[in-house]
Symmetry: C2
């Protein structure tokens, strides 16, 4: 079997890096899988708030989720990793497909046409960018402080927004973000969370705040500790964490071997 996509793969990556919108618009049809896109809901945790990384669109008041297209010879999950790398600078991020959004009229082509027009770009009515896209929703968990937000070709800037105070979002991106959050809340019941959202070393109260923030619910401090420790995925370190104004809490880190085991197997009930 041939690999027809390969010879156009490399030049297209350069196109994206050069941020040359016009070339992207012209070549996109050739280098990307048609009809298919992906959108990422990137969660970070900062100052006891759950944040989502968003892009402020050029020539429009709306914001949007970081997203992209899949190269013709590229694995879909790797395309998501690539998009994440481009927006955050991070590699090997925890990424989870959570839903495909496939309603025929998710998008309003006039909306996109107007935006491009404001940049002096006039495209034919049947241009590939205006066609219908089925989008694959991913959510990602990243460590807030490691992220270097980077806008894409169609956005002015890229920044964190509080998940409970989202701005006006393009298309169905608010729905996508909402479903990502509720999926995350559900996954919390059966899978360990925290690695990739927290620093390498963290305190028990920090971890609890993370859970409380995601679940939007208060938890009992002592019961939380008992339960989370029973998973056997934590290692207690020396008790540093001096800066605080109170009793110095222990520092913990994840036992990655056991963490990943728990991630994979989940918490069985039967």
């Amino acid at each position: 079997m041939g690999r027809p996509g390969e010879n156009i793969f490399k030049p297209s990556l350069q196109i994206v890096n050069k941020k040359n919108i016009k070339d992207f618009i012209v070549e996109g049809l050739e280098v990307y899988l048609p009809s298919l896109s992906l959108d990422c809901v990137i969660f970070g945790f900062h100052e006891n708030q759950l944040k989502v990384l968003l892009l402020k669109m050029k020539n429009a008041k709306q914001w949007c989720l970081p997203g992209g297209f899949v190269f013709k010879d590229e694995d879909v999950d790797e395309a998501a990793q690539r998009v994440l790398k481009e927006r955050t600078g991070l590699s090997k991020i925890f990424l989870q497909q959570f839903n495909v959004f496939g309603k025929p009229r998710r998008s309003d082509s006039n909306f996109h046409r107007e935006i491009l027009r404001k940049d002096g770009i006039e495209l034919a009515d049947d241009h590939w960018l205006f066609r219908r896209f089925v989008t694959i929703g991913y959510y990602a968990l990243v460590e807030y402080s490691h992220v270097n937000p980077e806008p894409d070709n169609f956005s002015d800037y890229c920044t964190w927004r509080d998940v409970n105070d989202l701005p006006d979002l393009m298309m169905d991106h608010r729905q996508i973000a909402g479903e990502a959050l509720s999926t995350l809340q559900t996954h919390l019941n059966y899978h360990p969370i925290g690695y990739s959202l927290l620093p390498a070393k963290f305190t028990m109260p920090q971890l609890q705040k993370l859970y409380e923030t995601i679940l939007n619910k208060k938890l009992d401090r002592r019961n939380f500790q008992r339960k989370i420790l029973s998973y056997g995925i934590l290692k207690r370190l020396q008790e540093v964490k001096k800066g605080g104004a109170h009793k110095a809490p222990y520092l913990y880190s994840f036992d990655l071997r056991k963490y990943h085991k728990a991630l994979k197997e989940g918490l069985q009930s039967w």
Copy 2:
């Protein structure tokens, strides 16, 4: 926004119904979303075995999952319902997206070329059917006795196969079926199962067998009953079920109101 797909929607449906392969092959490019397909793992329960509905491919020894493409103006989930309706005759089936399979070389175009060639159909190398497809995996739960298996254009017949004794499957369909099963096993931990897999009235042992079959594990009869009743989704009826050679067991049915509530909310752990 126009609806360009609409005027070609109806004729294409007829094409499929006529089982006119050539027209399908020629028109497919125009009526379907390119690059995107869907595959359904349809589970049924019969004689205490979990079954999967499979198609025996024409001109090949392999079998395959019921699948299809998405019309240009069709919702993706509805496309899956349509495929299910075509294969089983059933509507409003319980359908669940579980994964997108997006590796670039899932498919071997020569394989499909050979099959068509045996039907005297010779297509260009760059024909749309030979291109790469990203497929959306769905699993469905249906009541075995209500299904009327119906083959599609590319298959000789359509029949149930034991999930533990699958035949040689095309492409990555074995992997897709496997992931569907493990997804189902996981969902069993947090969601009620049984409605749409069992008859309207069923006995506790029947329900238990279903769980045991899906989980591939023996469960204690008395503990099972206690736990499943604690969900509050069952209604006990009169004790009919006479045919049996032993003590007549009670019949149950699902309290659909509570069943769907439990389906939606899941079983929370925090």
